[in-house]
Structure formats: C-alpha cells, structure tokens
C-alpha cells in the first residue's frame, strides 16, 4: 500500500498530509511533483490544500492542466482512490473529476476556523469508519469554498448519495445545500473543503479527521 501526496507549485498542506500518513497512521507515503506522470506504484493520491499557481484566474484552474493531471484522471478512471482537500478539491472540480464549481465565500472573507460537519454517507472508501449522521469537528481555511452546482446537478448528487459532508448548524461560506464534501458517481474520488489532516492529532484540537485516512487504509487492506 502506498500513498502519494501531489505537490503543485503553491501547495502548502502537502507536508501536513505527509506527516499524518507517515507518522500518525504509519503508512508508506511519497511526495509526487506535479511534473511526474508515473503513478503506477500508488494506491491512493492526495491532492493537498494551498494556493496552486497563486490561485490566479480561478482556484485550481491552472493546476488542472499540470502534467500530472491527465495521469490522475487515468488513475481515477481505473478505480484508484483520490482525495482532494481544499485547493485539491478545487483542482478536482476544475479538472471535471467532480461536478460543480467553487465561488468566493459569500461574505468575501478568508475563513480559518473549526467547523462542525455532519457525515452524510459512510458507504464510501473515505468515511467507512464514521457513523452515519455523526457530527465531527474539522477545520476549514479558504476563501473560495462556496460550492455551486446547477439544479439538475444537485438533484443528481442527492440521488446518488454523493454528498458526503455537510456543514452542521452554521454554513460558513454560502455553499449550496451546506455542501462541504462530495464524491464522484463511482465513489472513488472525494473532494472536501475541511482539512482532515489538520485534525488528526489531539495536539491540534481534534482527531475527527483521522478517520478519513484510517477508512482509506481499511479499504486498501481489503
């Protein structure tokens, strides 16, 4: 089993993800520079948060054309597990691996704080360790987390149980239908705005995010 953490110019949560996989859940992990296109040896790819290409034009819009992205699309098409966190989620949206798009937060503020999420679907490789309906504390840190999709798209997401995390009680950014995280139709690609890697060790105030990584490990061991 091997995890790969993709590093784009401007990624800044890559080391946090690496640390959690290496030191907390103790699994093999390597950094993958965005110009690398050989992904054969990996079982799960993490697209970390940050400001790839300075968020120029739109978040994720330029990283989406990095050389590695066509390999990531092939990897996902073959059923490989891909998780995009924050900017990683934005890149997956721009790449079309997940439906919808991100708008600026409704209040136009960069928001960095712990939020409560409701786990809506535990029948995925990323959330099997949670209980359905569980309320978890995981922090957000973004300027563009206001998820948008058209009416037909939202219907489709609901029909296929693709909404995985919803903001609980308070919607911080204006995201449509309180959406904080979704999977693709096949269920092997997850995008989420909150940062599970920042809530995997008690020193940081919560270990609720660790279950995302542990769920992935369970799945890969099967």
């Amino acid at each position: 089993m091997k995890f790969g953490v993709v590093v784009f110019p401007g990624s800044n949560c890559d080391q946090d993800c690496f640390q959690v996989i290496d030191k907390v859940i103790k699994q093999p992990v390597e950094y993958i520079w965005h110009k690398n296109i050989k992904l054969d040896s990996f079982d799960c790819l993490v697209l970390p948060g940050g400001f790839s290409y300075g968020d120029y034009l739109r978040t994720g819009a330029i990283a989406r054309f990095s050389p590695i992205m066509s390999a990531v699309i092939d990897f996902a098409d073959r059923g490989g597990l891909v998780i995009g966190i924050c900017n990683g989620f934005q890149i997956l949206l721009e790449a079309g691996l997940l439906p919808g798009a991100m708008l600026r937060n409704k209040n136009l503020h960069f928001i960095c704080k712990y939020v409560e999420l409701k786990v809506e679907n535990t029948d995925t490789p990323f959330t099997a360790r949670y209980k359905k309906g569980q309320i978890v504390r995981i922090p957000i840190a973004h300027n563009e987390g206001n998820y948008f999709i058209d009416e037909a798209g939202l219907k489709e997401l609901k029909k296929n149980n693709q909404i995985i995390f919803r903001y609980h009680k308070e919607n911080p950014n204006g995201a449509l239908d309180d959406i904080a995280g979704i999977v693709n139709k096949k269920g092997n690609v997850l995008g989420m705005m909150p940062h599970p890697e920042r809530s995997s060790e008690m020193e940081l105030g919560s270990t609720d995010g660790r279950l995302v990584f542990e769920s992935i490990v369970d799945r890969l061991k099967k």
């Binding site: 819009a61 798009a101 708008l103 600026r104 409704k106 209040n107 948008f148 204006g174």
Partner: protein, 80 residues
C-alpha cells in the same frame, strides 16, 4: 497581429457579493438610481493568426478551455 479583449462575468444565476458591495458603496455616495452592479474579469490577448477567422477560433477555444468556467461564468470577446 490580432488583439482580443476577453470579458468574463459570473452567470446571472450566480450571486455576485462583490458587485453588491460596490453597489452599496455607490449608493452611499449618492447614486440612488442604480439597478445592478456586476463585476468581472478582463483579459487582453495579443496573438498571431493567418486571418480573423483563425484568430477567432483560437480565442474562443482559449475561453472555453481555461479563461472561463462554464459552470459559473460566461464570456464575450472583442477581436481586432
């Protein structure tokens, strides 16, 4: 050499909080008859092409591929 001025704006169905904030600011300056303010992006391009038609094909392609996200944005351009 052709020059293209590409305008990218949020679709009408997408809320534009920046535009709304600017509208409030203009209203507080005394401009009371404002119906709407929307903000967008302007991209100026210079490109080589053998004729206007080829330049237009290229500009349109660039808009569709990268400059605008069709889920939330629409674009228009002025090519000369």
């Amino acid at each position: 050499m052709f020059t293209a001025e590409v305008k990218i704006t949020l679709k009408k169905v997408v809320a534009d909080p920046q535009g709304q904030t600017i509208k409030h600011a203009l209203e507080s300056l005394g401009y009371k008859n404002l119906k709407e303010v929307r903000i967008g992006k302007l991209v100026n391009l210079k490109l080589e092409a053998k004729d206007q038609a080829e330049a237009e094909v290229k500009v349109k392609e660039m808009c569709q591929k990268l400059l605008a996200n069709p889920i939330i944005e629409e674009f228009s351009y002025n090519l000369q």
